[in-house]
């Protein structure tokens, strides 16, 4: 991911890349990574959003009804550890994962982005304080933090969102800070200072749009990690709780029968894999689309 930013071009020729926002989507789509990423992500998102509606009509069972004995091979993908339809639960199991991942990412982006921009913009002691706090939080192992928080507060949805969101915040803050530092010395920021534009507006109108590139890349990456982290916690039994239908939890519940009734695990593993790969490809494609580097095949 080269995030090389072309600063002032001494030649006087207009830069080759236009910086209009609508161009980004098109440029993402123009790359094969971007296309595959969008398609993979979209497939899983559609599955997660509309799956719950399809679960009962497609399988004849709700995700909570008993279809057969546990780990039986009836139905398309057999039954799970309680004899419920794997397919029905699979169709129902992506929604919360997706919702919480998006919320956690959003929280991390807001907190981390604000802190990072503030640190870079304010400089001086505030910068040092924020960055040292960052270092401290970074040094606390993410999983330990999650384990403790969940044990103390219980495995509730908001706890997951807050824990994952906050563990992302310092990393996002770093990115936001360095991106801000890269633009903060641009003369248009100085110009805004000169015209005595209110500082919050400088952050919002002059800085934010110009670091949107790296931030959106980071958002994509963080979404990937959020999905992984929440699924991992569910896999460890600390995330979503029974009887919820959830991909991570399904892996945890059905892992035991991996060798005899693998579908309860493999469907979910597959969906999580596709989703995370999709979002990661997307993040990478956004990175290429927003980095104003020279033409690369």
């Amino acid at each position: 991911m080269s995030t090389h930013i072309l600063t002032s071009d001494p030649t006087g020729a207009p830069p080759r890349t236009s910086s209009k926002p609508p161009g980004v989507l098109r440029r993402v789509w123009a790359q094969s990574e971007g296309r595959v990423g969008i398609v993979l992500t979209a497939v899983v998102v559609v599955l997660a959003v509309f799956g719950p509606l399809l679960a009962a009509p497609l399988t004849g069972y709700t995700p909570y009804q008993f279809a057969d004995r546990p780990f039986a091979h009836s139905g398309v993908f057999g039954t799970d550890n309680l004899g419920r339809s794997v397919l029905a639960r699979f169709l129902d199991g992506g929604r919360l994962l997706l919702l919480y991942s998006v919320l956690a990412t959003a929280l991390g982006m807001v907190v981390g982005g604000a802190l990072g921009m503030l640190a870079a913009y304010a400089r001086g002691w505030l910068d040092s304080v924020i960055m040292r706090l960052n270092d401290i939080v970074l040094a606390i192992p993410q999983l330990v933090f999650a384990l403790l928080a969940i044990t103390v507060l219980g495995p509730k949805g908001w706890v997951l969102v807050v824990v994952i969101g906050l563990t992302h915040a310092p990393r996002i803050a770093r990115v936001a800070r360095s991106a801000t530092l890269r633009v903060i010395n641009e003369d248009y920021i100085r110009a805004a200072e000169m015209y005595s534009v209110p500082r919050w507006r400088i952050i919002g109108r002059e800085i934010l749009p110009n670091i949107a590139g790296p931030l959106s890349v980071e958002a994509g990456l963080r979404l990937t990690y959020s999905i992984g982290a929440i699924a991992s916690l569910s896999f460890l039994g600390l995330g979503m709780q029974p009887p919820t239908a959830d991909w991570g939890l399904m892996i945890n519940e059905n892992r035991i029968a991996l060798s005899v009734q693998p579908w309860g695990v493999l469907l979910s593993v597959f969906a999580i894999a596709v989703l995370t790969i999709g979002t990661n490809l997307l993040a990478d494609a956004i990175a290429r689309a927003t980095a104003q580097t020279t033409v690369e095949e």
């Binding site: 330990v144 044990t151 103390v152 060798s259 593993v269 790969i277 990661n280």
Partner: protein
Amino acid sequence: MIAKLIAKRLAVSVLILLAVSVIVFAATLLLPGDPARAILGQQATPERIAALNEQMHLDQPPVVRYFLWLGGLFTGDFGLSTSANAPVAVLLGERLGNSLVLMALAALISVPVGIAVGIFSALHRGRRSDSAVTWVTLALAALPEFVIGIGLITLFATSVLKILPAVTMSPPGQPVWLIPSQLVLPTLTLALVVAPYIARMMRATMIEVLDSGYIEMARLKGVPERRVIFRHALPHAIGPVAQVVAIQLAWLAGGVVVVEFLFRFPGMGQALIDAVNYRDVAVVQAVSMIVAAVYIVVNLAADIIGIMADPKLRSAAA
């Protein structure tokens, strides 16, 4: 100058570690549960509980306990495990060794492989082999470790090729590495998680370096390609790659938890999950501090490597 710089990093690291210790200690205070009761059991009398509380300084105010604990850390005394009723150091010693073996193996594989793949890919930029590498590393980098692990188990242990053990299991008293086959899947899982990041970073750094003016100049001087890469380009990748390797090593210290859980590997991560479940505060604290220390040490090492690799800083020292 350089010594001063390193000394400053060192001081900052120590301060961060101290801050982390405060946070870890405070967080573990919040854990519900009663250590004395956990040790003595459901039917313990209040007197015995009080006596044990006193023995473990649990009757003291948190601040005093923090300093007692911190003092203990310096002397290698991590406290008493409530679930095992034994010193944490004894409990963790062997497990720490196991985890380190696993992490070292994973690092030993992923770092050179990652670097080699990254360089290869950068040199073949734009070609088919490069885009294949890009796709694979992107996909692998996205996958949570348990997904990779389950994939490998399905592939090599339970469903397709039943050739490797799915779980770690050592005969009593034998270290895990005496049966190498059971280390294969956990190591591979960790390596597959870590290597893509290193490869991607290496590729990006190399490409940036290869695009720079001095590389073009070297070529225009007639310097052979091999020398361009190894003498002109590679030294510039040391710093950034040391950073990413450090981040990945630090990740290993934490990420090993899930992998150990998955493969039932008797390491630190296992101990951590057990300890949290059994409210074994001292063990949780110890593991947290160990992981934090690993994080800080590897990052410090990377910083120092970065400083040493930068001639500006190096020469300023002279």
